[in-house]
Symmetry: C2
Subunit: 340 residues, 2 copies
């Protein structure tokens, strides 16, 4: 099958019947938004992790896999500004995997769930012919006023990210080496941290407009926000935060640093657009969440005003400049789970 996941989702969305009135946001954001009561909404998201597509059992212990499966799902709740509540786990278990491995997987699940106050509320287990399949649905909650949609970016907003970008992509390449030494890159790919606390704080600010988690790669996720908001983005590549030895690590691993930075997936950092004036108030929040770094990497422009770029295929809504103001091109598209 050779088609972009995004295009296929768009086509299916058009095919489906009208939505229920209490469904405030359906297909097309990190989570669906469902009316709970007069003030609050439930956020619901579903993700699948498939052996040899999303993970390789050579690189992950079952405990790490359980941790990661929950963490990446919680990241979708974070991206909408929510607090996690419940998770439902579908497992398709091939004959090669024994009961101890499944118990280890759940130990990892329980570890991260306990940390974030998530309850495993149900699931389904079944045999699978040959590969492990994990499907997880998470339910979170937030005041309706705090929901951060992809479609809310505004002309003039600053574009911000938490943490560092490209770290997990480097980690994935370290993992593929023989007996890799543990480092911050491997930690980023094996044990991603959902940004629940910072996201929940950000969600309280009306000046924070659109939000998404960086799961598919910076350009791809930024593109989703720009497309949903009918805006364009101007990004300064030098501003994108990376680990201090990022370029050295890329050189060691023979990776193109720019491509890795712009299109490497699985960082699970937050990307948001914000009225820059909100930054003062935000600094108090950052003090409370020590170790969380927020970096301004660019700004939002109204699409109608001026066409920023037509050249950055497949991201015509994004222009990436180098330090001299010259436009940068990347070799290939972001992380797409249909790619091979």
């Amino acid at each position: 099958m050779k088609i972009s996941e995004f295009d296929l989702i768009q086509s299916i969305k058009g095919q489906l019947a009208t939505a229920h009135p209490a469904l405030l946001q359906g297909i097309g954001d990190d989570c669906a938004v469902v009316k709970k009561d007069s003030k609050n909404v439930f956020l619901i998201s579903t993700d699948c992790l498939i052996e040899n597509v999303h993970f390789d059992l050579k690189h992950f212990s079952f405990i790490d896999l359980g941790k990661k499966a929950i963490a990446v799902n919680l990241s979708d709740i974070a991206a909408m500004g929510g607090k996690p509540l419940y998770a439902f786990i579908c497992l398709g278990i091939p004959p090669k995997i024994n009961q101890t491995a499944i118990s280890d997987f759940y130990a990892g699940v329980d570890h991260v769930s306990a940390e974030f106050g998530l309850s495993i509320a149900g699931g389904d287990m079944s045999r699978s012919p040959n590969y492990l399949f994990i499907g997880i649905t998470v339910v979170g909650e937030t005041p309706r006023a705090n929901v951060k949609l992809r479609s809310a970016a505004k002309d003039g907003d600053g574009i911000y990210v938490t943490g560092t970008i490209g770290t997990a992509a480097v980690g994935l390449n370290y993992l593929k080496r023989k007996r890799p030494a543990e480092n911050q890159y491997i930690k980023a790919i094996k044990n991603p941290r959902p940004r629940i606390a910072v996201a929940s704080a950000l969600a309280g600010f009306a000046g924070v407009h659109a939000m998404i988690d960086v799961s598919d790669g910076l350009l791809q996720d930024l593109h989703h926000v720009m497309k949903a908001s009918n805006t364009q983005a101007l990004v300064e590549v030098d501003k994108i935060p990376r680990e201090s030895d990022f370029e050295t690590a890329c050189k060691t691993l023979r990776l193109d640093p720019l491509e890795t930075l712009l299109t490497g997936g699985e960082d699970y950092q937050l990307l948001f657009t914000m009225d820059d004036k909100t930054m003062d108030a935000l600094s108090d929040v950052l003090k409370l969440n020590r170790g969380f770094k927020i970096t301004r990497i660019g700004e939002v422009r109204e699409a109608a005003k001026q066409q920023l770029s037509l050249k950055l295929d497949p991201y015509p809504l994004i222009r990436v400049n180098d330090a001299t103001g010259r436009e940068i091109f990347v070799k290939k598209g972001g992380y797409d789970h249909f790619g091979t």
Copy 2:
């Protein structure tokens, strides 16, 4: 992997941290029950359907598969007395399946969703190495007072089922023949009908106690209810409703009729226990839901009073009698998705 799904779920349940206070029912029933507001609850259930485990693409068109995937999930909502609201669909798509097939699948999904007022609110699509994987999570709603749990069966209750039993199991065997002619058995396996309307009506009666859907086989699902309720069941095999030519069909297909009736899965009928006095009030409901048949097949006994049977391995909480009052044994266990 050789372990019963039920035992594994029990073991994992013990392993997990304490549940959230708004989680009224967690792992162990057809759906989780989550507090929505002061009067109502959300019912949430997740199920996976895996190629060559739950279905064979030789026997199902993609439209039929989409219909069935939604129907079996709605059956879990029916089993708790709920009304369907939202569904989330995870697909793992192998390279052999093209976009038209996926579009057909969603046409089937949409067909059944529209019929039952269900909105497809989200999902995830990904590549799968070689087999199709479908994970569906459904959310339903019901007044808290109407929730029917497996654990609510009472000493003296009648045991009832809707429709006919064993029909889908016969259908599955018809499907495996070369160019099978369409009949009611094949219809039952291909296009199961979730009993939403009748379930919702039954849920309004306080005299209806425990409820479950017959997905894994009559004995296995009845066993779940008896175990959760700490009760025993006495079933009269002659009372179990079946198609008029059920014995003939079994003979044609060389199936053991008793085994097929007692352990054949996928009927998606409702099994419930009820104070027999409720039957009068119920008859009005049955008139409104024409074509829905309800049959009393046995009764519930308090486990402490008297051991009904020790012999029906692996169902020591169930005694099945023939017309003369003699106990019946079945050759093998119910439908278990870990079985081979």
